[in-house]
Symmetry: C2
Subunit: 227 residues, 2 copies
DNA sequence: TTTAATATTGACAAGAATGTCAGTACAGAC
DNA sequence: GTCTGTACTGACATTCTTGTCAATATTAAA
């Protein structure tokens, strides 16, 4: 990781110094690549150390560049944060809708719930989003709005299709919304307090898995009943 | 509760100068009172503006004192944060265990869940605790550990008592743990993403209430089944 | 009233963080 | 090879924030 630059020698060395510093060639990336690396590093720091760990100097060191380079690509620290939000939002959206998509036509709630929890755990996405929600930065972001609505729509369509097959009455849309909402709340909650609660109650990794299965079954039973 | 100071007493002016600064009488509180006011202000800022809003100068201004006064009472900013954590922890514990206590011998999950959600919403307790969990400050605090265990124990005792009355088999303890865990996760999640999700799906205040009722019923059905 | 304790303050110190700027070095176009 | 655009850097400026300190004011005890 420690790709130190240290290019003080410069021209002065000329042909003199034995092997001071081979004038470490300055690395030059494409703008997109640089932005990606910076966002990755910022994300990692955020996931590990929380909001206070998001300092330009630190991120720059992680990437192996100077901190003005970050300013160059994102204008300001706020710009970086906004870019972080935007990327997390679209990534989350893609994963969630992808999981519900035609590739996995599973009717089983357990699968869906597993995907939701994993998508939010991955790379600390939930922690990142939680932080920005706590700081009140998400109000401007209307992206999040659509995601939830889209998902509820997809789920509702599934349920209606399914109940038609079975010749049962169509499920209430609000019920579907509540199922999605509970799942979202629980997943976010687990991302934040999960580890603590697990430790507090002596639940190991396997126990957490059992909890998720238990939760999925709870919802499944509910869905079957309602259908 | 807005015990604003603002004591521009003119007394000192006597008959002297053209009322430069009437030497605003300095307010002196007891140490406990001062600590309480400071913690209240800090809590309010944290709930409203998130972690970044926790600056000594701002808190001091809210209380109507100078920022060194805060340092005097809490040693350092970290000391203030720790005091905040400790108070939130004990308050939460008291409210939760109080709600489950003998005063309200309700067997109805709806009541309990309502209490949990309210206790965490109140004064932004969940947001406060979430923030400190995100910043990794809670690892040292073993208080939280006990709370969850205590609650699970109380709940389990209730269920066993209840099932004995009905002559049913005793419930699995892990099931009780999972119920408590889901409730905690959901409550924390709602405290953070609840507002956003509600807006995104066009759910008004009343809708949120319906959601909680729906959730309580879901758990109630489960508990009845298991019992 | 005098005294002791301490809550409180203004001024200052030290450090950290973001942001600016002029210049440098690398890549592709010509 | 030369030129041009721009990713990148080091040094500096600025602002903000916590923390220190000596001094002051207020309350309660003596």
């Amino acid at each position: 990781m420690s790709s130190v630059a240290k290019n003080s020698a410069a021209a002065s060395a000329a042909a003199a110094g034995p092997a001071e510093k081979p004038a470490a060639k300055r690395v030059r990336r494409t703008a997109d690549e640089a932005r990606r690396l910076i966002l990755d590093a910022a994300e990692a720091r955020l996931a590990k150390q929380g909001p206070e760990g998001l300092r330009l100097q630190d991120i720059a060191r992680d990437v192996g560049i100077s901190h003005p380079a970050i300013l160059h690509h994102f204008e300001s620290r706020e710009g970086l944060v906004r870019a972080l939000i935007a990327r997390a939002n679209t990534q989350l959206r893609d994963r969630l809708l992808g999981a519900l998509g035609s590739d996995h036509p599973s009717q089983d709630a357990a699968d869906h719930i597993g995907h939701v929890f994993e998508a939010l755990s991955d790379r600390g996405t939930a922690r990142l989003l939680s932080w920005l929600l706590l700081t009140g930065r998400a109000t401007e972001q209307s992206d999040a709005h659509n995601v939830m609505s889209e998902i509820v729509d997809v789920l509702q369509a599934r349920r209606e299709e399914y109940s038609k097959e079975k010749g049962k009455p169509a499920p209430d849309k609000e019920d579907t919304l509540f199922v999605a909402m509970l799942t979202a709340n629980a997943a976010f909650g687990e991302a934040i307090v999960g580890r603590q609660l697990a430790e507090a109650t002596g639940l190991d990794q396997d126990g957490i898995k059992r909890f998720r299965t238990w939760f999925a079954k709870l919802l499944n039973d509910h869905l079957e009943d309602k259908r």
